[in-house]
Symmetry: C2
Subunit: 104 residues, 2 copies
Amino acid sequence: MQDALKEQARFFRDLGHPIRLRILCLLLREGRQCVCRMLPELDVPQPTLSRHLAVLRGHGYIEDEREGAMVFYRVSDSRMRTILAAAGLPCACAGQDKKQLGGM
Amino acid sequence: MQDALKEQARFFRDLGHPIRLRILCLLLREGRQCVCRMLPELDVPQPTLSRHLAVLRGHGYIEDEREGAMVFYRVSDSRMRTILAAAGLPCACAGQDKKQLGGM
DNA sequence: GACAAATATTCGCTTATTCATATATTTTAA
DNA sequence: TTAAAATATATGAATAAGCGAATATTTGTC
């Protein structure tokens, strides 16, 4: 019962980092993106990006698909767009359409 | 420009604590509540509650009104109910009406 | 003014997060 | 099988966030 609360709290803490917010915004906008293209756009050290991706992936907010040497990520948590938009992040309002593209 | 992101991130981090989530849920449900009534319901040490209230107050999510020896709090951030509901917190769905009661 | 109730703040300590640097893994291509 | 590109993980140090215990502040009452 209290465990649900702890999980909700972790959810918000996971969102509570500028780089992770930028990753989510980027993915919501683009729908699907590989790390090598996020890297120059986000302009952070590669291990840093990778670690933040691991946090988001580890808790199920994003999913990865390997394609050859590249790994593509996309947002897999349906709450994400609504929450980021409700919080006032402009990124989360746009790109709603691209989400279906790139898919199977 | 990046400062807005840092502020958004802090917003989520501020939400990222079980006690603070419980405080917000309680206030959304009750509309307005004094610390002395939150205390038994949340069942945490008084200084702990006070510190978490200070975090929420300091960043403008809640507002306090002193009435004699008691201090009443209420949610002052309009995003809060939507966001907590979108994140799946059940508390945030109820009590929508009580918000106007207890007013001046 | 003295005291009690309600609330807030400070202090030292512990735990969690984050970062930078180095290194490892996986895949493609030669 | 060697090399290079893409991505991930490990390590140790720095910073932030948390708690309990003690103390301070404000208000009402006598």
